[in-house]
């Protein structure tokens, strides 16, 4: 190949070039080199998808259902989704044009951002948050605007802090409650206050409710169900967490037709449709998976109690999260920053947790510990962390 001219310019788009890689990725590479690690670093259920659901996926293949589905997704699945959202979230959507089956909430989120953001539009979101949010906003040429959530507010979104960040360019408010990585939820009064702000400032609310079934205290309210909110809300949900179906990649977006339609255009051109086999399995999850889901939730709740009490006993202050499957203990008493704590813990005790800073700068002083791990693993991890904390007092 000698003599062929090398490129004289950078081919990579500037906004992607400057986009940082996920902080989790870096940590993952480190963990992967080690053996015998007890991991509390996993953001997915440790359960295998319930057998009935898996069996439906197998049956779909047996029947030879291997073709594309409608761009929006299988109609029976959309009907089941709309029924489920109506009964459990108290919002009505039409299966024909207000529900779009996606490749997980990730794709839905990407489409929302690409379909709704004009360059320079500001998107408000909370941190600590799921690692993709700011990146998704930037990839769509939006401006991410962080509203920090704080330990003293139980990591709920404080409406006063939200107001401080509003500008004439604010367009979207992205919510994720119950929250990854804090497990925080919003009480109805706070949610109403946030809805009022959204209406007052004419914001589009995008609500990622992927953890909403995994709630251990109280009842879940979707902001989409509050008076006046349906028309300005896109409701994102999926099967990954509640039905332990992460690898199937099925999610959905529900919203008024005039908001779903532009997302459908992107989906149609870039994706076509979600996997047919996965859609049929997802339908089974909605029709027959509730009991299995409730059993998993009960199991997470037990593990939550054990892990959170464990942290508090060893002197790491940890709020009792109301939802999701993450504990977010405060590790400042160790005198270490989050990354040092996580790296040293990994090296000395072979326990993997994720530094809070992977979820935003204000995650400093915390680590995320997933309790979507077997009770024996959790107990082993707690023993090792306790020994670590004791040693570094």
């Amino acid at each position: 190949m000698s003599g062929s001219p090398s490129p004289r310019r950078t081919f990579v788009a500037e906004h992607i070039h400057v986009l940082p890689k996920s902080g989790i990725r870096e940590f993952f590479d480190l963990v992967s080199t080690m053996k015998g690690v007890v991991s509390l670093g996993v953001g997915e259920p440790d359960f295998v998808t319930p057998w009935n659901i898996r069996e439906s996926g197998i049956y779909s293949l047996e029947k030879g259902h291997t073709a594309y589905t409608s761009n929006l997704g299988l109609l029976p699945l959309r009907k089941a989704i709309c029924d489920y959202v109506r009964s459990d979230y108290h919002v009505s959507y039409r299966p024909e044009d207000e529900c779009l089956v996606t490749i997980g909430v990730s794709e839905a989120l990407d489409m929302v951002m690409r379909a709704m953001i004009d360059p320079g539009d500001e998107v408000l979101y909370t941190e600590p948050c799921f690692v993709s949010y700011p990146a998704e906003i930037r990839m769509a040429h939006g401006v991410p605007v962080v509203v920090e959530t704080r330990e003293e507010d139980n990591f709920a979104l404080n409406p006063a802090l939200l107001r401080e960040k509003l500008t004439p360019k604010s367009k979207i408010l992205l919510l994720n409650f119950p929250c990854n990585p804090t497990g925080a939820t919003l009480d109805p009064a706070t949610m109403q206050e946030i809805a009022d702000i959204a209406m007052e400032h004419d914001l589009l609310v995008v609500t990622d409710e992927i953890y909403s079934e995994l709630l251990y205290e109280g009842t879940h309210t979707s902001i989409a169900s509050l008076p006046g909110m349906r028309e300005r809300t896109i409701f994102l949900h999926g099967f990954s967490k509640a039905f332990a179906m992460t690898g199937w990649r099925v999610g959905y977006a529900c919203g008024p037709a005039e908001l779903i339609d532009p997302m459908m255009k992107i989906h149609q051109y870039s994706i076509m449709c979600a996997s047919t086999m996965s859609q049929e399995a997802a339908l089974d999850a909605l029709l027959h998976g509730r009991r299995a889901m409730q059993e998993m939730r009960e199991s997470y709740c037990e593990r939550r109690n054990v892990i959170v009490n464990g942290f508090n006993r060893m002197g790491l202050r940890c709020l009792m999260p109301k939802g999701a499957f993450y504990a977010f203990p405060n590790i400042t008493s160790s005198g270490m920053d989050s990354v040092t704590f996580a790296k040293t813990l990994l090296q000395e005790e072979k326990v993997a947790v994720v530094p809070g800073t992977a979820f935003g700068a204000c995650g400093e002083g915390f680590v995320r510990c997933s309790y979507a791990a077997g009770m024996d693993r959790i107990q082993l991890a707690l023993e090792r962390i306790a020994a670590f904390v004791e040693r570094h007092k």
Binding site: V42, G43, S132, E298, E302, N305, V354
Partner: protein
């Protein structure tokens, strides 16, 4: 709460009252009381290990036996069932609907001992009309536990 305690114990009967209390978010003393009460009420009859006995060097032989019984004027099937239940060889016994009346599981050291028990002790009981014996060849699932689990599925150690 009783249900929650039972579910945990059925899955792992070695859990202490303190561990159960922490998991379900209840007082340890209350959990202890409830377990004692369930034991007294014979809701909990015992605490046993689930054994994959075909892995044992001197594995026991087990058979399922369908028994037809002539019901008695007073007591129906209960009298005969109680007599059968007293034999230590009988590990399970049910009254069932369908083509026969009692279904029992019998355990013995060898094929011969089980066969001997059926012909000498069981078939001769007054009221037993007939027996049909099926020897167990392999156990796939017991007490909700699948025998010989598949290899553990390797997941990514850290994910978002």
């Amino acid at each position: 709460m009783e249900k929650k305690i039972l579910r945990l114990l059925q899955d792992d009967c070695r859990l202490s009252a303190q561990e159960i209390a922490e998991r379900i978010g209840a007082e340890e003393a209350l959990v202890k009381d409830m377990i004692r009460k369930m034991e007294a009420d014979q809701v909990i009859l015992g605490y046993a290990a689930v054994v994959a006995d075909d892995r044992l060097p001197d594995a026991k032989v087990r058979a399922l036996i369908e028994v037809k019984v002539k019901p008695q004027r007073d007591g129906g099937f209960d009298e005969v069932a109680r007599r059968i239940a007293r034999f230590p060889e009988v590990v399970r016994l049910y009254l069932v609907s369908g083509g026969y009346d009692l279904l029992l599981e019998v355990e013995g050291d060898s094929l011969q001992t089980v066969a001997g028990f059926v012909s000498a002790r069981l078939a001769t009981i007054d009221g037993v009309l007939s027996t049909a014996t099926s020897f167990q060849l392999k156990k796939y699932k017991e007490s909700g536990k699948i025998m010989s689990q598949e290899d553990e599925y390797e997941r990514l150690p850290v994910t978002p």
